[in-house]
Each structure stands twice: as C-alpha cells, then as structure tokens.
C-alpha cells in the first residue's frame, strides 16, 4: 500500500513548498495537516492545497472539464489504488489503467497534471518490484510511468525504475 505521507512530502518537494507536519489519523491512516489557515484532511485536499500554495494551478486542470477529470483521478488514487489489498486487486487497477492509457500520454488532456504525479507516487512501490513480464503486460502503464519519472523534479530520491524498449515475451494478443 502506498504511503500517503510520502506522497505528500514528495509532492511538496516537487512544488518547492513546505508540506507542514503530516499526522496519520485513525485506523484508516488518513493524513492530516494542521496549518495556520486551518486543518486539511485527506490526501486529495492536502495535495490540492499544496499546488495552490505553490501557485501552480495549471496542474489542477485549466478548464472546468479538466479540473473535474483531475479530481476524479485523484479520488481514484485514494479509493482504488491506495485501498488495494493484495495482488489481485492491484491487477484490476493496473488493467484498468492500461486500457485507459492505451491512447493517452497523460492522464488528463495531453498535459501533465497533479493526477499524473500522485498516481506515479502511488504506483511507484508496485513498479519497483515488478518483473519485466508484468511491466510488458501493462505496456501502456509502463510507458506512461517511464515518461512521468523522467519529468524534471518528480522522481527525486525515489529509485529509478527500468523499462525495456523492446518486447521480450511472445504474446498471443498482438
């Protein structure tokens, strides 16, 4: 399971702002940040607050449509990805993302957004240990992941995940 606290720290570093002290609340470990301007609860609201604080609102989407699409994928990170219990559920998420990303370079509207960054942080632990066979199986997620990890300042100290450019496994489905 992805650690929300790490994602917040990494995002803050990428944006060049201070995250404040993150505490994990309750059994569900919901991150909470208590700041001067109030208390923010949950990964999504904390992340969006950080983006606004850094004045990089374009990461939240330019049009209303894009903004809601970004919101939807931020919610997806919390409700689908972070709640994964075991490989089976993760497989569902990866399959879903793989289909979604087949004709896309970024999650929302041809440009990198907060959705890309948080999904990248959320998926990173899963990709670190992933065998090449699976990486190739989720080819489109892999391609997307590789692209995001090369975005300047996103990866930071996270281990670099290596991908092969050529397919090495024979598959029926091509």
């Amino acid at each position: 399971m992805a650690e929300a606290g790490q994602s917040i720290a990494a995002l803050a570093a990428y944006l060049g702002v201070k995250a404040g002290k993150v505490t994990l609340d309750g059994r569900d470990k919901i991150p909470v940040v208590k700041g001067k301007t109030g208390t923010r609860r949950g990964l999504v609201s904390i992340a969006k607050h950080l983006v606004r604080a850094a004045e990089k609102n374009s990461l939240l989407g330019k049009t209303i449509e894009d903004q809601s699409a970004v919101d939807q994928w931020l919610e997806y990170r919390v409700s689908q990805l972070d709640s994964c219990q075991g490989d089976k559920e993760l497989t569902v998420v990866l399959k879903e993302l793989n289909t979604y990303l087949a004709d896309k370079v970024y999650i929302v509207n041809h440009i990198m957004s907060l959705a890309d960054i948080l999904l990248y942080y959320g998926l990173h632990t899963h990709f670190v240990g992933m065998p090449y066979y699976d990486k190739e199986n989720y080819m489109h997620v892999s391609r997307w992941f590789d692209n995001i990890q090369h975005e300047e300042g996103v990866r930071q100290t996270l281990p670099y995940v290596h991908f092969l450019r050529t397919q090495i496994y024979d598959r029926m489905s091509h």
Partner: protein, 436 residues
C-alpha cells in the same frame, strides 16, 4: 537566443517545423506578413539571400540566411529539442530524415490529388497508400513502448515527423484507416494538443472521411493554357479571405507548394519540356486532344460508358489519326504466349512513342492458330513509325489501314478493341495488350 524573420506563406507545414521549435526554445521568430508568394520570393533582393527562391527561408537578426525547413528549425531550436548527447542527436536526425524520405513523398502523392493540386493516378495513389502503411507501421511499433520519439521529452524529431503527417491526418487518414496505428495516433494527438503546437497550427481536426481526387478543383486550378500565371493570380485573391475559408485557404497553400517542390511540372499535353526537343512528335501540331487525359479516362473509368464517349467527344481529327493493323504472317505464329511476347517486344521498342500514342493489340485464336490485330491512335496524320528509325523494327510485319474517325465502322472497331469485347469480325478473342 536566435531571433529573426521567417519568410513563408501562411499555413506552410514546413514553416511549422521552425515555428513550433521557436515556441519551445523561446526564439523570437517573426513571420514576414508582407510576404507574397510568387513575388517576394522571386525578387532580386530575396534571391540574393536565398538563391533557390523557396520558402520557408529565414534571416536571423545577425544576418545569417538559412533555407530548408529542418535547418531553420535547428537554427531556432535549443538543446532540449536537438538533443545533448551525440546518440540522441543522431536519433533525432534519423527521425527528421524519416519524416522527409518515408512519410512526405507518400503523403503528397496521396493527398495532393484530393486537393486538386496534382492529377490523380490510381496506381501511384495505391502505391503511396502502401508506403504510408509501411511507415506508419514502423512508427507504431516503435511508439508502442515510447511516449516520444527520442528520450522522454518532445524533441525536433517529434516536431518534424508530426508536421509531415499533418496533411495526411487532415485529409486522408480517416478513423478506419488509422485504427491500426493506435500508438501513432496517441503520440500525434498529444503533440498537436501541446500549447506550443496549438499556438502555431491552431485547432486541428483529424480526418473524418478519406478525401478523394477532386477533378473539378483540379480543372479549376489547372485550367487554361497559361496555367501557371493564372494560378498565381488566383492564389493572391483568396489570401485575404483566409479567415472565412480556412479549408480553402489550406488548399491554395498546398497548391502553391506543389510547383516549386516537385519536378513533375508538365506542359498541358503532358510532355515534359526538356524532352520536347528530342521527341519526333514535337514537330507535329499539338492539336486539342489530350492524350494523357484520355489514357487516364481509359485506365480509371469504365471503357464503354465513360472512356469511349470521352474519346469521341475530344478527338481532334485534324491533328490525330486512328489506325487499324493486322499481322501479316499469322501462319508463323505458334504458341499464344510467344505471340504475346512478340507484342510486348514491339511495345518496348516503340516505348518513346508513348507520350503521343495509344494502342490496343489483341490476340485471337489459340495455340498454333492465332493472329494479332489492333487499333492505334497517335498524333499526326501519317504512320508514326516513319518519324523515327528506332520505331521501324516491327511495323513492317503488319498491314496498316487508316480509319475514318467519322465512319460508323470505325466506332465499332475502336469500341471492340478498347473494351476487348464484341465479335471482332468473327475472330475468337484470346487476350489483349494496351500500349499507353
């Protein structure tokens, strides 16, 4: 940082390569708005700087004059676009060349007839489609595991390949055709939606229905004898109306592109000028019958309902003639395939007649009992073979009879020989060969 003036007509996809590069690098590139295609680039001042007189052309504020779109793009680009490692630079170069050599020729051959810029040729178009499939296939496979062509960021490679694909994606790669290339589509759509691309090319709509040859537009753009001058005059008029008619504007632009880029500029009768002096037919009056146009009718359309009526409508009796020929020594003909070879050999030997002559030779009968006869049309009122000694190898083996273009029998004979059906005076049709 590079800065300077770019000379181009609006909507030139070659100029886009440089303009988009400038958007990325921040180079200050101003398009010269007073530029008039066909005037500015033919002026002495312009030719002194850019001897080819082609656009896009770039003059930097420090006085450097650069032509060729890729070179200009290089000039105004930055290290991110051009690659910092030598390996990356080489790969970027590779894709730039791929764009120019593998994509562009096929794209132009396919798209230009749809815009009425060039004449339609079914074989060429089909060939171009195959080339396009091949290039897109290669690109699609490559992009399966990659987001962009070189490295993980947009480089000049992406810009060059995408710009050369613009025309095809706009006019002919409809959803049906492009569905096989999902990776290319993803990459292309992402690029054209980048703010830096959008600023230069505007909103881009992918092709919905594959465009086809537009004969009307072609006639409009190429009509009349002094074609070229008229064309240029027409170019300028619509230039001011661009905003109201973005689509038409595009077509005009492409059309302008054509004459300077391809060497296929032909005279109205389809004979390249340089060859004219060597062509014995050149001494004969041209007349009004367009042999090339007729051949296209014959190749692309139904013979009985379209090509033949076309022939009789346009045929110029004063300057052209129709001939019937028959082989003199049928008793010497053995197997049909050997007879075929005899005809093919003749076609090869008179190949130089092709521009101004058309023939249909038919073989009748079967093995060990066959004969050849045919119908020919050519410029001039006499036997064309007498014009050149190289053409005289075969013709003496045939009897030649000039047909009266107004006679009913002639219409029947021509119809039978061009359509390869009818009773041929009782002979049994085996196969035919067309000289065109």
């Amino acid at each position: 940082m590079a800065s300077g003036t770019l000379y181009t007509y609006p909507g030139n996809f070659r100029a886009y390569k440089a303009l988009i590069a400038a958007e990325y690098s921040g180079a200050k590139v101003t398009v010269d708005t007073s530029f008039v295609f066909g005037e500015t680039n033919k002026s002495d001042d312009f030719l002194a700087k850019f001897p080819l007189g082609k656009v896009p052309a770039f003059e930097s504020s420090s006085g450097d004059c650069i032509f060729e779109s890729n070179a200009i793009a290089h000039y105004v680009g930055n290290a991110k676009l051009l690659g910092s490692a030598q390996e990356d630079q080489a790969r970027i170069q590779q894709w730039i060349n791929f764009a120019d050599n593998e994509i562009l020729p096929a794209s132009c051959t396919w798209v230009f007839p749809c815009l009425g810029i060039t004449q339609y040729n079914k074989q060429e178009t089909e060939k171009a489609k195959e080339q396009m499939k091949l290039a897109l296939g290669v690109l699609n496979h490559y992009l399966q595991t990659r987001t962009f062509l070189v490295g993980e960021r947009i480089s000049q490679a992406d810009i060059a390949v995408a710009c050369n694909l613009l025309l095809a994606y706009q006019y002919v790669l409809d959803s049906n055709f492009r569905q096989a290339y999902t990776n290319v589509n993803r990459w292309f759509v992402t690029l054209i939606n980048q703010p830096q691309f959008k600023k230069v090319i505007g909103d881009f709509k992918l092709c919905e229905k594959m465009a086809e040859f537009d004969a009307k537009k072609y006639a409009e753009l190429h009509g009349g004898s002094g074609g070229k001058k008229e064309k240029e005059k027409k170019d300028k008029g619509p230039a001011q109306q661009q905003k109201q008619e973005p689509k038409q504007e595009k077509q005009k632009k492409e059309k302008k592109e054509k004459p300077k880029d391809d060497e296929e500029e032909e005279d109205d009768d389809g004979i390249p000028r340089e060859k004219e002096s060597k062509d014995p037919f050149a001494l004969l009056p041209k007349g009004t019958f367009d042999m090339d146009a007729f051949k296209r009718e014959y190749s692309n359309k139904d013979t009985l309902t379209e090509a033949l009526p076309y022939l009789w409508e346009k045929f110029d009796k004063e300057n052209y003639s129709i001939w019937f020929c028959e082989y003199k020594y049928p008793q010497e003909l053995k197997l049909v395939f050997m007879t075929c070879n005899l005809v093919s050999g003749m076609f090869q030997r008179v190949d130089k007649m092709r521009k101004c002559a058309f023939g249909s030779m038919c073989i009748f009968g079967e093995d060990n009992n066959n004969t050849i006869s045919g119908v020919w049309i050519w410029r001039g009122k006499d036997l064309a073979f007498l014009l050149n000694t190289d053409w005289q190898v075969d013709y003496e083996s045939y009897t030649w009879k000039k047909l009266d273009p107004d006679a009913e029998e002639t219409k029947t004979v021509v119809k039978e020989y061009l359509a390869w059906e009818g009773n041929f005076g009782g002979k049994k049709f085996n196969q035919g060969k067309i000289f065109k």
